[in-house]
Amino acid sequence: MQILGISANNPFSQKTFADSIQLPFPLLSDFPALKTIKSYGGLSQELALTVAQRWFFLIDLQGIVRGQWRGTTTDVFPSEPILKVAREIAEKR
């Protein structure tokens, strides 16, 4: 299972952020075109910043979206619902 983070930030700022919290998975920058973010969850405006809406997508080995979840607050999103679907996919293989 590969975890990828995608945000509207530039790659330089993503490195600062990733190093700051020692992030163990890659971050992809969709800046400046924001095409991927627009085609998935969409954008929102926070103060003067354009940011990606907080969505989680689970894509299987065939490229099919098998689940999507929306994080509506800045709280840590529980990983269990995502892991549950991921385990179901793994068991069926």
Partner: protein
């Protein structure tokens, strides 16, 4: 032969920090991370408390030490005397030390600079735009940018900036002057 030598030197100086001969060891000694070659530090422009405009573009061909700080940050305060010493010693050789404050007022910054006798520019960032563009989420955070405009090092948290490893890294970057002239 001579042409090959120049090409080899330019290739080495434009290589990612971690690939430059000796640079990886200097970064490791200071406990800072390097950058891949494709990255560019974002342009910024701001004003000091005295109204002096400072921009990254205006620091062309200089080694830039960019420190993000705030007056309430105790670890930032401990770094400031070292930055001032580096500024006084190396600015003539091409080192530009720039402090970027986060969301504090002009008088607060002016008093802080007076108290610590700081003479290098301290930029105001009232909206936090520069902090955000650089991805800064904790203070202090410090960036080192080479004469060719490429990012060299990132330090999350405080470092001994007047210690041997920091001085060796800065002196190595300052020594790159001739070959990199005109690349930014």
């Amino acid at each position: 032969m001579a042409a090959f030598g120049i090409v080899a030197l330019m290739t080495a100086l434009n290589a990612p920090a971690a690939e430059r001969p000796g640079l990886a060891e200097l970064l490791k000694a200071l406990n800072v991370s390097g950058y891949p070659s494709v990255m560019q530090p974002p342009e910024f422009s701001g004003f000091t408390a005295d109204g002096q405009r400072v921009s990254l573009a205006g620091l062309s061909r200089r080694v830039v030490l960019l420190n993000f700080w705030a007056t309430w940050c105790l670890e930032c305060r401990s770094e400031m005397p070292a930055f001032e010493r580096l500024h006084r010693e190396f600015s003539v050789q091409g080192l530009a030390i720039v402090g970027i404050n986060a969301r504090e007022g002009t008088s607060t910054i002016r008093e802080y600079a007076k108290e610590l006798a700081l003479t290098f520019p301290l930029i105001l960032d009232p909206s936090g735009k520069i902090n955000s563009t650089y991805g800064v989420i904790g203070l202090p955070t410090t960036f080192l940018i080479g004469r060719n405009g490429r990012p060299i090092a990132l330090a999350i948290g405080p470092r001994e900036w007047s210690g041997k490893p920091a001085r060796a890294l800065i002196q190595a970057l300052l020594a790159e002057s001739a070959a990199l002239k005109g690349t930014r």
